[in-house]
Structure formats: C-alpha cells, structure tokens
Symmetry: D2
Subunit: 133 residues, 4 copies
C-alpha cells in the first residue's frame, strides 16, 4: 500500500507561454517541488550543507495529456519507493481542478550524489525517515 | 493608512543559481505572484478572458540587499495605491525568516492594457474591488 | 540515413542551481530551442498566427548522465522522423565541450494541435518542408 | 565616448507568457547574458572558481516600453562604467527588429562579492580588462 502525498501548485503568469497553457518543462519543476515537500526541504538543505549530499534526477519519463491554464490551482500527487542502495523511484501526477484524469504524469528516478557529482549510497538516516512516510 | 498584504514564498532548487543564492530576476516573479494574490488570480483570469484586459509592468525599480538561500520560506509584503485612470503603484519587499531588514525591495508601476497592447483605463469594477482591500 | 542538426547552447547563471550544475528541467528548454531551429521559428510563428496551429510535447523521456556547468558551450544534436499523420519523433542529445558521451539524452514525441488544444493533422506544407531537411 | 556592445537574443516559447509577449522578468535574464558576454563568461567562471569572487546585482531600474513577441531576434545594447572600487554601472537596452525605440531599458548597478556574500573590491585584473573594452 503506497501513500500518496499531495502538493498544491497555483499557475501564475510565469508558468504559461504564448500558446496559452503551461510551458511543458515547468511540470518538472512542480514535480521537484512536490518531492522536496515529501522529503522535507530542511532535511535536504541539511544533507547538502552538513554532509555534502544531494539528489540528482537520473531519468524522467513524462506524458502530457492535457493543457493547464493560468490561475488554476492543481494537485500534484506523489508516491515513491526505495530501489537498492542508490536510487529512489517516484510516480507523480498533476491534476487540474475537477479533472477526471491527470494532466501530466511522470516517472522519475533519483540518485544520491556528493558535491563532486559521484554516486553515493542513500544515507541511513534518509532511508529511515523515508520509510516512515 | 496602507494595508500590507503578506504572501509566502518557499525557495526551491529552481530559484537558486550556482552562486548559492536566489537568481536575481526571480524576485520579480515573487513580486508578481504576490500582486496576483492581492488582485485575486480569478479576477485577473476573468478580466483577460471576458474583457480582454490585462496588466503590464511599466516600471520596476529593485534593490537587492541580501542573498536568499534554498529552503528559506520568505514573506513578500505588498502595498499599493491607485494613480490616475491607468496606473497602479506597488511597494513590495521580500523578507527572509527572522530578518531585521528586507532582502529585496521593489517599486513597481503597472498599467492596464488590452490584448493589442494599447493602454486602457482601469475598469471601474477593478477600481472598486481594489479600494475595498 | 538521418540528418543530425546542431544547435549551440551557452550555460548562463540563469541555467544553474545551487548544486553548481544546470537545473534539470532546463534541458527540456534547450531541446525545444533546438527543435525550433530545425523547424524554423518563423515557420512556427506563421503556423500559429495564420493557421492557429502549434506543436505540443506529448511524451518526453530524458536520461541525465552528467552535470553541466556555468559558462560551458554545449552542442545539442537533434534528429527526427515523421510518424503518421499527427506525430513527430525527436531524438536529442546535449554534449558538453570535448565530451566522450552525451550529458543528457531525450526522446520526444510531438503532436500538432489547434488553439483549442485539439489534435490536428500535420499540415502538408509542414511535412513537405520537414522532408527536405 | 562609450562603447556599445551588442548581444543577440532570440525569443523562444520559454520566454513568453499567456498574454502573448515576453514575461517581464526575463528581460533581466537577457541583460545578464549580455553583461556576461561583455565581461567574458570564462573570466567570470575563472574568478569564481579560482578567487571565489562573483558579481551581484545591487540595483536594477527597468522601464518596459513595448511588448516583445515569439520568434523575434532582438538586439541587447550594453555600455558600462566603473564607479569607485566596488561598483560597475550598466546601461542596457533591448531593441526589437526594425524598432525606432528600445522595447526595454535598464540601469543596473553591480558589486563584487566573495562567496560569503561580503563586498569585495573589484580585482585589478578585472578593472584592467574592462578598461580595454
């Protein structure tokens, strides 16, 4: 049974392009914001500042099913699983208000890296914290 | 006596640059988000979709007093006044948590325009709504 | 035999984040810039303004193999094929200077849409122009 | 007599918003790109990596006179002067193709800072290089 975490994203001018809907790379931003809230931004800042560790996106598979418009308040739904010593897998969806299907879906693989951009095992404290979510 | 409106902005990866702090043009984004919340995003969407009217920044004077870091949750403080038939003036400040002075201040002039980018008087309904804030 | 189109991207402050390398959603921007140069931006503007047609990304599969740093001038390599009446498929890679492998690869599917965001067959003039590239 | 440096900026999807023109904070990006080309990005990277020094925008006064549209290739015109031990002053304008007046003008003050975000005198080597431009 997987927990789904919800994060709310309001669409501002900065998010749209001249076609009238959200510019597609921005969904990767919303998905990252949502992951940061799941992991906890303060824990991320601490890992970076104290242990020199961060997370990098290794793979991102996105499907864009619907356009999203200015002023809409959307719901980003996020679930994840740990995959071995280095990797976390994330399933994410962005839903427009009152929608029957997601507007955008993403499968994201993240790895843990040090500040020299070398792969690093997920810290035990991180794994423990994530297993409690 | 001027009302100060508060809007909260969390700093994500997307907001920073490789110098370690928020990339300076992004403060114009936060100031715009805050203005959209003061005016009300739904009213803005309605004005645009039904009357073909929007607001454009005519002048922006910014002063950058302090760097802002990842994961900080900042307070954008906004006040405004109407200035003639076409213009609104905005004073905005971004405050880091527990700060003694603002990190960034801005004086913004906005004008009302139609979709052909011609100056248009502020709609009466807009003026009325703003005077109630 | 597939033509590879080259597009040069310089990494500015705006492209990086506080981890010191390019913020990952930005690679979708560079890939789009490169596709716009292949298709021709003026043709895109004309299609949009005169026929009300545009292109939307339907799927994007990205793999991030290496970090990219401030001031690097990278080479985006793009090839494409037409796939049926509605779709174009793009293979894109971003190469750092003097690299032995790409830093980021992408498989992008684009569809043609009208301004109501409904699927629309690729215009014949567009297909003809693309087949000449 | 002041040298005017030219830098070309093409407007992509990413630059526009749903009002149909360039999103206003992006002009600060173009102005920064142009300054980086005047100063030389490799020199900036070297200053940062070897001496831990960078430049921060202290003040930015912008005036927005005209909207800028998708696919336009604009000319950013930049001139500067040194102002005391810490500061450089920049006058920048963005011109649309065949325009009779600039679309956006900016007066930018930059200061030199170390990685702890403390004010630092402009390095002599930097001043010398700038005086030759």
């Amino acid at each position: 049974m997987t927990t789904i975490h919800h994060h709310s994203v309001q669409i501002y001018y900065e998010d749209t392009d001249h076609s009238g809907v959200v510019y597609h790379p921005n969904f990767l931003k919303y998905f990252e914001r949502a992951r940061e809230h799941v992991i906890d931004s303060d824990r991320l800042a601490q890992l970076w500042n104290e242990q020199g560790l961060g997370f990098a996106v290794y793979k991102a598979n996105l499907t864009f099913l619907d356009g999203v418009r200015f002023a809409e308040v959307c719901d980003v739904q996020t679930s994840f699983e740990l995959d071995g010593k280095y990797k976390t897998l994330w399933h994410q969806e962005l839903w427009r208000p009152n929608a029957k299907k997601p507007a955008v879906t993403g499968e994201i693989e993240m790895v843990c890296m040090d500040q020299q951009k070398r792969l690093h095992p997920l810290p035990d404290s991180f794994i423990e914290a994530m297993l409690k979510l």
